[in-house]
């Protein structure tokens, strides 16, 4: 009984995060300028990380924590590189 409530609540959380990803995708596709798209990509990867964490809680496996950690690290590097590119026109000078 309690386990069903737990799974249902986590499914609702996953649905909300998925909706957040759709909204970020809307801004990614529409965003008038490049910095809007980079910001939307940053939001998208953070939401993907949260989705991974919620799914890991639902399955009860610790494996998804590592996937979330890797998504977080790669997302930081990619957003920093894109912002550097917008700032300078080159990533590595």
């Amino acid at each position: 009984m309690s386990h069903e409530l737990f799974a249902a609540t986590l499914s609702l959380a996953q649905l909300l995060i998925g909706l957040a990803m759709v909204l970020a995708l809307y801004r990614l596709l529409r965003g008038p300028r490049a910095q809007d798209r980079v910001l939307a990509l940053d939001t998208l990867y953070v939401d993907a990380m949260l989705l991974m964490l919620a799914y890991g809680m639902k399955t009860g496996t610790g494996l998804y924590f590592e996937a979330a950690l890797v998504i977080g690290m790669l997302g930081f590097v990619s957003t920093a590189a894109l912002a550097k590119f917008l700032l300078r026109g080159e990533v590595i000078e």
């Binding site: 300028r33 950690l69 977080g72 700032l87």
Partner: protein
Amino acid sequence: MSTAAALLALAGALLALIGSLGLARLGTFYERVHPPTLGTTLGTALILIGSMLHFGALESRPVLHEILIGVFMTLTTPVTYMLLVRAALHREPGSSDG
């Protein structure tokens, strides 16, 4: 215990949704930079605390490695957004509506 963890995760997901809603709805770039931080800071923190509670109850020992993600996000979010806003200022000097 696990119901409390699920409710914390739900609250975090709601914060992420509000942040993305602000990102999609607000008018200018400098307004749009603010809302996603709601999901990156408090939303992530709530989901991580829920995950710590859940796995701590599941394995009946304190599980603390989620703090790693928390510290990492807290350190990297300001850095990336500062770089991004500096890039936006560089691309459009003197103007406030990107």
